[in-house]
Subunit: 407 residues, 2 copies
């Protein structure tokens, strides 16, 4: 069950002026549940995107990147149940076919549409089913459909992920609302499986592109469930410019306010993905401080976060913390001096001087391990850099979910 | 249950002239089973070792490396149940204390003894229990004790691992016998948790050192259970020189014969560790061919072998093979062209041209996935290098074993 993750309420999600969303059932999922989401953007909207670094990147990612580079998006079309990844030339044709079909219904061209897919890899996309459901998705479009969209993009997610914030920019109220999905195959490298954040703020495209990289680095690029980088990771940041604030085109105070709110939304969505990680029973924050640079802090944090032995010990609430030392030791920081580092579990000093801390008591470790939320803190004593990532434990249910995924 | 792994029979294990082994119960393990192994070497024996690259390398590893560098070993003392790792200065003192105590009973000095430990990390070594059991281990020493030693070094292993070969070198019969343990925290980087191979062949120390690196690269450095590199990995190769062959001191025909036999023993031990991997139900060979260099082939092979999604699909016998494409895609080979590669499952061509192969049928993938032994073959089409590694699947029992390890 998800860890301290409350389902979002429709009333908490503020519509974003200039964005409307329509949902439909294309019948990709056997259960007949909603699996198609359309997002329409007001003219003049600006869109920035970051995408997976996986070399087997999915067909819709290739097409979305191409369209984003050549045109200004007016619509996003998202299906779940099939990733259209590992599908070769046919997959590219399928993604383009859907954009073309949608353009025939909308006042825009094919290249103003960005396609997204998530689900099983290496299965042909059921194009006809999707095309047939487009009119229903268009007919359903409305501004207050964020919660339905958050549900319609889910795969193995248990809880929908949607976050909303409001801030003031030069006397105008600006809204930032985002949705994301993801539960397994989560170790984003630039973005997560699917994340969409929209604001009605006015901001120039170069600054929007700068902001998405910053927001990704502070959120989706800091999480891992299983170390598997997906073929379909995509994170989009949309600014419709309808709010009426003066367009942000330098890194001024308004940029900082907006950036803080976007990071806040992105981080809450990214953490929600971990709280709802496949089989998760614990939410674990791994904080590495005192490093020579951020890279080595992240290396150590990810070594801990990816260790199946560490993750199963968290699942069992077993303070078998030597496994964390072992992971630090093999993280690949070549000149690491284990004598100078300290390991804390929440406020409990567990290890220092290359071994167990003198005052460490197993009962103290046990107490923290039984919590649902745990901070692992590693103090390196090599410099001033730090990094934080978020992960979950590894349970029977992770194996069950992934062994039975297609059955 | 172990995958196609027959327990060794005492009669199949040839004694090695110049090596005797003694076993005892020191009471480190609660169950009272044998947990202490002594190996005595004839004067003039040569010993080469390779050890873990983990920065939190265990105290006995530090001491064994130091003694090996300064002296010629006459005895090895190995305990299970406690790794003496993450134990700081106290751990080093403990390892040296045991060498000193043993030296007082044997006709050799403290620095002629190599200590080894395996078991829980970050717990103080029960030195007094070990020292008290030394006389019993010495009294038990005999040449045909290899099977008992293979049992006494086990931790979560289900089946003991011991392999023996005989070859002719200049008209003399030469024996090579080895034992190993390991089941979890297996992703060796230079060696595996504990592996000891002895021969009575005469070979110079420089060539013995060359041979151990070669043998490790072809065996223990090609396996992974969970991607966790242990703090205690140690692989020792012993040559007593008692067989009477002319000492091998160049890379001649006799060197090649001996090397082939040592690699054969090391590889069978390494594969036995995978067949007995924690929770394993499948034995999987991952073969990457046509690479620009061996490194990129290994990167791709390990990305597949470490993916929890791939491993759970194997457990479920589910040909959800897009997960293998995803792992290849994120393996970190930056200029990889997914259009030119081919993926085979045994003899079944699964993917090519960036997607599913035209003639691939799910039923064919299903047939192979149901086997207990499976070969994943990736043909890159970039060059002539290749690499093979061995791994196992990821089951409920892996989680169970590691969640309950200390209880």
């Amino acid at each position: 069950m998800p860890v301290n993750l409350t389902p979002p309420l429709a009333g908490d999600l503020h519509p974003v002026a200039g964005v409307s969303l329509g949902i439909a059932s294309a019948g990709i999922k056997k259960t007949g549940r909603k699996d198609l989401t359309l997002m329409l953007l007001a003219p003049g909207s600006r869109v920035a995107g970051t995408f997976t670094q996986n070399r087997f990147c999915a067909a819709p990612v290739v097409v979305a990147k191409r369209h984003l580079a050549s045109d200004t998006p007016r619509a996003l079309i998202i299906n779940t149940g099939n990733a259209n990844a590992g599908t070769g030339v046919e997959g590219l044709n399928d993604a383009e076919h859907i954009c073309r079909a949608l353009a025939s219904w909308l006042p825009c061209t094919e290249t103003e549409i960005l396609p997204f897919s998530t689900g099983v890899i290496m299965e042909p996309l059921p194009v006809d089913k999707i095309v047939a459901a487009l009119p229903a998705a268009i007919a359903d479009c409305k501004a207050d459909n964020w919660l339905a969209a958050a549900h319609a993009i889910m795969t193995t997610d248990i809880v929908a992920k949607a976050v909303s914030r409001r801030i003031e920019l030069d006397g105008k109220t600006v809204t930032i609302t985002g949705i994301a999905k993801g539960s397994g195959m989560i170790h984003p490298n630039m973005a997560t499986l699917l994340g969409f954040i929209a604001t009605d703020a006015a901001i120039s495209l170069p600054l929007l592109q700068q902001l998405i990289r910053h927001a990704a680095d502070e959120s989706f690029n800091c999480i891992t469930v299983d170390g598997d980088t997906s073929t379909n990771d995509s994170f989009l940041l949309i600014a419709t410019g309808v709010a009426g604030n003066a367009e942000i085109d330098t890194q001024n105070k308004e940029y900082s306010l907006l950036a803080a709110a976007v990071v806040d939304v992105a981080r809450e969505l990214a953490q929600a993905i971990i709280r709802d990680g496949e089989g998760a029973t614990k939410f674990i924050r791994i904080q590495v401080e005192g490093g020579a640079d951020r890279d080595e802090c992240r290396k150590i944090a990810y070594a801990i976060a990816h260790s199946p032995l560490v993750k199963t010990a968290f699942f069992a609430s077993d303070p078998n913390l030597g496994r964390i030392l072992a992971a630090i030791g093999y993280s690949g920081v070549p000149d690491l001096d284990v004598q100078t580092l300290q390991l804390y579990l929440d406020d409990v000093l567990v290890a220092e001087n290359g071994g167990r801390a003198a005052n460490y008591q197993e009962a103290d470790g046990q107490r923290v391990m039984q919590q649902q939320e745990i901070t692992v803190r590693v103090v390196l004593g090599r410099g001033t850099a730090d990094a934080t990532i978020w992960t979950c434990d590894f349970s029977y249910d992770y194996v069950k979910i992934n062994a039975e995924y297609r059955s």
